[in-house]
Amino acid sequence: MKGSQSKELSEKQQLLLSSYVDNECSFFSRFFAERLVKTSEEAQRFVNNLKNTSQACKAHIASNDPSVDLWDRIAQRLDGEERAAVYLGQRKPVVDPTPSLMEKLLSRQAVIGGLSGAAVAATVLVFVARPSKPGEILPVYTGGPVAAHNSSAFHQAALNNNTQAFGNQSAMEVDWMRGNGSFKIIQNPTDKSAIIWVRKRPFASSAPPQAIKATPTIRVLNEQGLDVLPPRTAK
């Protein structure tokens, strides 16, 4: 809005003042219009001109005698309505359904878009900012003391099982591992963690890295000693 008192009004300002004079503007528009009228002489002049023109038109209409006798036309219309009511029934007033506040809110596409955008932004921030927890990581399950799991409940159950089997032993968990050699996991049942041994290939630099997920194939089962290198053999 231009606050200058000497500059001409823009088209936007003129439309605002027109709607203000016609009493067809919103709360904020009315506020801006009133402020513009107070601060701008041109705006005051514009509003006065509009009001004078409106009053002049009304006065002109009121001063002119109608050449047509309207009472006859009104009587004719009443007769026509009565005749129509015989065949079509009485006229029923059309109930203008006043939409509820929610319907007004929801009917606006922009409002829906704004709410959806705010909800999406909040959801994204929630997921981004949420701290990671052990149970929420999605490892590949291996089982056993060297275990990878995908739920907190299972993790706790696995720890409990391991504790029962091996006393106070706790698990080292591997989500995934990759490298330029073969992996061997060396674990002593009496110890608390395992040793990850990488056996390099003869030409490790040129060989493609081997990626290994913690699949059941490297499951460490201390109960049976399967797939586990006993302490005596690491090579």
Partner: protein
């Protein structure tokens, strides 16, 4: 007037809902920051050289008594006894303090590098991403593991003939009152 009021109410409601959503998201983010990202982790990385390869079934049968371990590696003796070497010597020890979810990289004595990123650290467990690279930049080991806090995790690889290079990694939660 009623029309303008209803429009005003709509605008106000939309603004309030958007602000509420953003405030809630900001609160969650701050909570996450307070609960995890401000935590400091002290990482101790010991590089150990293993030599004196042991072979046959008789090697590990004798257990810890037949291996030679420096005094600074006494706490690792039970673990080192599982490896097929007779002598273990500490080459270097590095200590780094780093915030959770921050990445750090250290240079190892033989030109290898170790990069790590603690993902979380609570009272008992720590989750960490590790990348152990060889001198030529290739991955010796790239892994993500979870282990007990204040416990050493061992990983090793072959180094020359009948020798090995071992990394002992221990993570401790840093507290202001504690001193190492």
């Amino acid at each position: 007037m009623s029309h303008s009021c209803s429009r005003f109410v709509r605008h106000l409601t939309l603004s309030a809902l958007s602000c509420a959503a953003l405030l809630y998201a900001g609160h969650l983010k701050a909570h996450a920051a307070d609960s995890c990202e401000g935590t400091k982790v002290k990482l101790v990385v010991r590089t150990i050289h293993a030599s004196g390869a042991r072979g046959g079934e008789a090697q590990q049968a004798s257990g810890e008594s037949t291996i030679s371990v420096e005094n600074s590696l006494t706490d690792l003796k039970p673990k080192l006894a599982m490896l097929p070497f007779t002598s273990f010597r500490l080459i270097s020890q590095r200590e780094e303090e780093i915030s959770v979810k921050k990445k750090e990289s250290i240079q190892l004595p033989n030109g290898q590098t170790l990069a790590f990123r603690p993902m979380y650290m609570d009272k008992e467990r720590v989750g960490m991403w590790l990348s152990w690279k060889d001198t030529d930049g290739s991955d010796i080991l790239n892994t993500r593991i979870h282990f007990d806090a204040d416990e050493s995790v061992l990983t090793g690889t072959d180094y020359r003939d009948n020798e090995g290079r071992i990394l002992a990694i221990r993570a401790t939660k840093t507290e202001p009152a504690k001193s190492e």
